[in-house]
Point group: C2
Chain length 297, copies 2
DNA sequence: CAAATAGTGTCTTTGAGACATTATGCG
DNA sequence: CGCATAATGTCTCAAAGACACTATTTG
């Protein structure tokens, strides 16, 4: 088998043996994981169903930059692992959480998103059921807490152009954990013309959220809201046994919109299979427990 | 305003002034762009409509590694730009193409995907209408060509597990440009269990496609096929004026499936607005020309 | 029994699939 | 005139929205 040589007369084998990485600059590559769960809060009285809240896991920063702010769990990628493996490793190291659903979200690369140096972030979306996970006691002085997520759309303006349009939307994100209240405002500019699409995101206000993580969290929520409607991704938020009403509440919390019971069951009960188990001691009619059905897509 | 100090007694300002990037290893960050267009091929006779083909733009590699193979246009990211800006810049430099639709696809990070050194690739999906673009004459000895894309699913096996399932799908990709025929086979393993999701991709056969680009191309096509059904993304492949039959052909080529005319028009004509112009000299009834309608989403 | 939720029935609306029918310019 | 495509009508079927009604358990 003949070997092709390049303009220097080198075969590929020789080229690689002599290869020196160029001296151009390289970025640091971080991973950051937005891990969602839905948790029950206190029940109002013995008859009513407990309420649920959407939560994400944040870690308090113990060093500069953004010291004292709260950040997504994450860290730097090692040369012998993929970004996904790094996300899994960091999540386990920092919070003790493992064996959960994970998908790549987006790579953020604005040159000065990290004030220290050139750092890109490959972000991941993770989902866990609150029963199945337990936070490890903060081993190396790291404080990890679940924050309630409250997203709001606070304003929108649309400008029509002759070859497209510009839409500016302002989102407000509130993150609450006991007395700790974090918030941020992200302004999204979408410019669509016949020359292409241009998205710009500015963090116009930020209280206690590290780096550009407010934006990453909003992006993750957007993805979750989109995918929940046409995949079974929401089942990753459920424990092994759950009622269809539980499942409906999860959809309602994520979408921020009430669902009609009959229509909801028609559509999403195919993702589940009934079991023999029933709820009890609830102050009202018992409910059947379902579990995940593995649908081949 | 008080300033928080860290365990070394440094304020954030002092910390950043003294900050030295750690000596841990950093990856190179490349961008690679899968740019699709739909081109007309010769018409069989004066009456029949011309046929269309899905094409992507590839560049012949003039140096190691993969010398003589064909690669996606792309290059390395500079420290003062985002990955998206890098994708736009490289596309223009290497092919002369500009002002087109672009969206981020996925970041590939398998440690040895590039034999030279640790290189991640942030990939982009681009769409262009074939009338609006012209390849610049290969300025620095680079050869850029449009290849017809022929994707096939050649096999699938599903194994049910007690806590999930495993699905293995084999895809074959053929890329054709005149006498040049490239091909690759990618095996996708999807393992879904209650412990999460795991996707693995192996390139089991490769003829003339550089790096892991066969996989990136298949991923881009999958994204395009998904989004075409619920967005107006396909209009980025159309010239300013087009018939609804033209648009239907584009959908058929991308989806690899015939569409029913009446149903297609009901669904997708809302993405367009009629003009006064008509086709002519076609050997059959003239057709109305439409153009893109800017829908605010 | 009252409160609260569980679970189902059904009428309407919407949209896609399937196929048929009519329209029209060109050689 | 006949070819090939343009454009629309209509019947059917599936799914979602809206709302009502019945069923059960516990204090």
């Amino acid at each position: 088998m003949e070997e092709t040589t390049d303009i220097n007369g080198l075969t590929e084998r020789k080229f690689l043996a002599n290869y020196k990485a160029g001296d151009y600059e390289r970025p640091s590559m971080a991973v950051d994981t937005v891990i969602f769960t839905v948790m029950q809060t206190k029940e109002a009285n013995y008859r009513k169903l407990p309420e649920k809240e959407l939560k994400i896991l944040l870690i308090k920063r113990g060093g500069h930059p953004y010291i004292g702010s709260w950040a997504l769990p994450g860290g730097f990628v090692d040369p012998d692992e993929t970004t996904e493996q790094a996300a899994i490793r960091e999540l386990k190291e920092e919070t003790g959480v493992e064996n959960i659903y994970l998908e790549q979200l987006y790579t953020f690369s604005e040159p000065h998103r990290d004030p220290r140096t050139w750092v890109m972030s490959c972000s991941y979306l993770a989902l866990a059921d609150s029963d199945g996970i337990s936070l490890r006691a903060g081993d190396d002085a790291r404080q990890a807490e679940w924050f309630t997520v409250r997203p709001y759309t606070v304003g929108q303006s649309i400008r029509k152009l002759d070859n497209g349009f510009e839409k500016i939307t302002e989102y407000r994100l509130e993150l609450i954990c006991g007395d700790i209240k974090l918030s941020g405002i992200v302004r999204h500019t979408l410019l669509r013309t016949d020359k292409g699409v241009k998205n710009t995101y500015e963090i116009t206000e930020n209280n206690g959220i590290a780096f550009d993580h407010a934006r990453i969290i909003l992006y993750a929520l957007e993805r979750l809201r989109g995918k929940i409607k046409y995949t079974d991704i929401a089942l990753n938020l459920m424990p092994e046994y759950f009622t269809l009403t539980d499942l409906q509440r999860v959809y309602e919390i994520i979408l921020g919109k009430e669902q009609i019971k009959a229509a909801f069951r028609r559509k999403y009960s195919v993702l589940t299979e009934p079991t023999d188990k029933m709820t009890s001691d609830a102050g009202h009619r018992p409910s059947r427990l379902y579990r995940r059905k593995w649908l081949i897509d």
